[in-house]
């Protein structure tokens, strides 16, 4: 974990409610895809946890949805604004377990961490396949960016306005030869995936957080291997350890 000041480089709408923000700063504490950062916002007591979508030595990319006052405020920030951010939080995805052909399944604001994960797996010479789920075509984002990585991308929308009509699980059921799965998204989706998948996998969870770095026990969950803090021992849990 590192606390440092980042500078907003750009902050643009991808959809009506989802924005992409690129920040410049010290990313050295980020060690894995699936980790998150915790952002201090003027006038708000708690920080806001947001997944790392991508990063390099000097910049960090996040994608976030406006759901309340904090993300609303975030959406108003212009280039040049400085933000106090804790980076390198959480365990992140373990790519060593992926096998050659892992499935990456992102639902809604669970899509962002899949992006860096896909890049990492490609770098390791693996052949990830991506499934992105949204409610409607209008709410879909980052599909082209995933395609640009050269990976197969399936899209499911609940209303059928784009790709398969239905849920990501409907797509998963049509796929056969995957070796592992990684996912992030709303809890009902995670549960459904855990049921429908035929391999092991890693699932990323959300919880209301006090600190985001393991100090307060605000975000605990019970697993088969004992209590875990979503912020520190997660957000990524293994399918096998989860108590639904």
């Amino acid at each position: 974990m590192k606390q440092s000041i980042f500078t907003v480089k750009s902050n643009q709408h991808l959809t009506d409610t989802v924005l992409k923000m690129v920040l410049a700063g010290d990313t050295s504490a980020i060690t894995a895809s699936g980790q998150f950062v915790n952002i201090k916002l003027d006038g708000f007591f708690l920080r806001r946890p947001i997944s790392v979508c991508d990063y390099n030595e000097k910049t960090l990319t996040i994608l976030y949805k406006v759901v309340g006052k904090g993300t609303q405020y975030l959406s108003t920030l212009a280039a040049g604004k400085q933000l106090d951010i804790l980076t390198g939080l959480g365990n992140g995805y373990d790519t060593s377990k992926s096998g050659m052909h892992p499935l990456l399944i992102g639902g809604g604001v669970g899509v962002p961490p899949m992006y860096r994960l896909a890049k990492n797996l490609l770098e390791e010479g693996k052949k990830p396949e991506v499934i992105l789920g949204f409610n409607t075509k209008a709410e879909a984002f980052y599909i082209d960016e995933f395609r640009a990585l050269g990976v197969p991308v399936h899209v499911a929308t609940a209303d059928g306005s784009l790709g398969t009509k239905g849920f990501v699980t409907d797509v998963v059921k049509t796929l056969k030869d995957y070796t592992y799965f990684y996912t992030c998204g709303p809890e009902p989706m995670l549960k459904a995936l855990s049921d429908v998948t035929e391999t092991s996998g890693q699932l990323s969870f959300e919880e209301r957080m006090g600190c985001g770095f393991g100090a307060c026990m605000g975000c605990s969950c019970e697993t088969k291997y004992g209590n875990k803090r979503i912020c520190k021992d997660g957000p990524v849990l293994e399918k096998e350890e989860i108590k639904w």
């Binding site: 974990m1 606390q3 708690l46 804790l86 209301r208 100090a215 307060c216 605000g218 605990s220």
Partner: protein, 304 residues
């Protein structure tokens, strides 16, 4: 050079700044960021007889200038704290720690305190009487002078270390509770614990916290904490550890003027992991700004 050393029941601290129980874990996460031996001491997570997962999640709700938590005393239980955490803590913190003990019956308090009393590392036992008394209708021990005194007596009977009773602010007359604890033999008073608070989610129209209510803390509660520290310092002759909303060196001085000998920092650690370090580093400069050479001179200064 200014003097920041203060003494609690014979234990001299390099400075009065102490992370508050439940907001600093066992110190490990912070020790990765800075040398936590700069702290006056630290109060580790509340410990109970049995291991506890605590309350269901969500356990956290944001508020203006604070948060509500309903962690519910998640901890591995006294056995593991003694066998696993204390040895690990010793590696990153070389000063006496404050053992924060909770219980749901007088027996449980006494049991845990007796166990922890044997540990060298522990300088002070801080007894959190904000827990519900399961044998008596679930009202917190700390809401009645008699119940708080009963816990104090039971704990004092089985311990040799200084015992500080940590009071709940959710009471009509905090001075009466403090006095009862003093008469029952307490060596000091810690206050305040969190204030009972609640938030409701407009989207779901349900309480944000799974347990409905929880403990409210952070800078918002500072004026209530200062008032209670002032009232208690006036009522008792034992040292007071002040806390509640402290987030700057100025706040530390204000608490001490109200009557605190040392000061704990809680919620501030969660939003800024360097909060205690920053406060300790700022303290000498702020002391000079207000013409304070020795912190001991200002303890209770506002009472004069």
């Amino acid at each position: 050079m200014v003097n920041t050393k203060v003494t609690l029941s014979g234990i001299t601290l390099d400075n009065p700044v102490i992370p508050a129980s439940g907001t600093f874990g066992y110190g490990y996460e912070f020790a990765e960021l800075y040398d936590i031996n700069i702290l006056g001491s630290f109060s580790f997570k509340g410990t109970t007889r049995e291991p506890r997962f605590g309350n269901p999640t969500p356990r956290i709700a944001e508020c203006t200038a604070g948060l509500i938590n309903s962690v519910g005393l998640q901890n591995p239980g006294i056995d593991k704290v003694i066998s696993e955490e204390l040895p690990k803590m010793r590696k990153c913190f070389h000063k006496p720690v404050i053992a924060n003990i909770s219980g749901f019956s007088v027996d449980e308090y006494a049991y845990c305190c007796e166990r922890i009393d044997k540990e060298d590392q522990v300088g002070i036992i801080e007894v959190n009487v904000s827990c519900p008394n399961v044998h008596h209708g679930g009202m917190a021990f700390g809401t009645s002078p008699e119940a708080a005194a009963e816990v104090t007596r039971a704990v004092k009977a089985v311990t040799t270390k200084p015992v500080y009773i940590k009071l709940s602010p959710n009471v009509t007359d905090i001075a009466a509770v403090a006095k009862a604890c003093e008469e029952a033999g307490a060596d000091g008073i810690s206050l305040i614990n969190t204030m009972m608070g609640m938030r409701i989610d407009l989207k779901t129209k349900r309480p944000v916290i799974a347990n409905k209510m929880g403990g409210f803390s952070g800078s918002a509660i500072f004026p209530v904490a200062v008032r209670m520290v002032y009232q208690v310092a006036e009522a008792v002759n034992i040292p007071v550890i002040g806390m509640g909303g402290v987030s700057s060196a100025e706040d530390v001085i204000e608490m001490m003027l109200a009557g605190a000998t040392a000061v704990q920092v809680g919620a501030a650690n969660l939003v800024d992991p360097f909060a205690c370090k920053n406060i300790i580093e700022d303290l000498p400069r702020v002391m000079e700004q207000y013409g304070i050479k020795d912190l001991n001179e200002i303890i209770g200064g506002a009472h004069k």
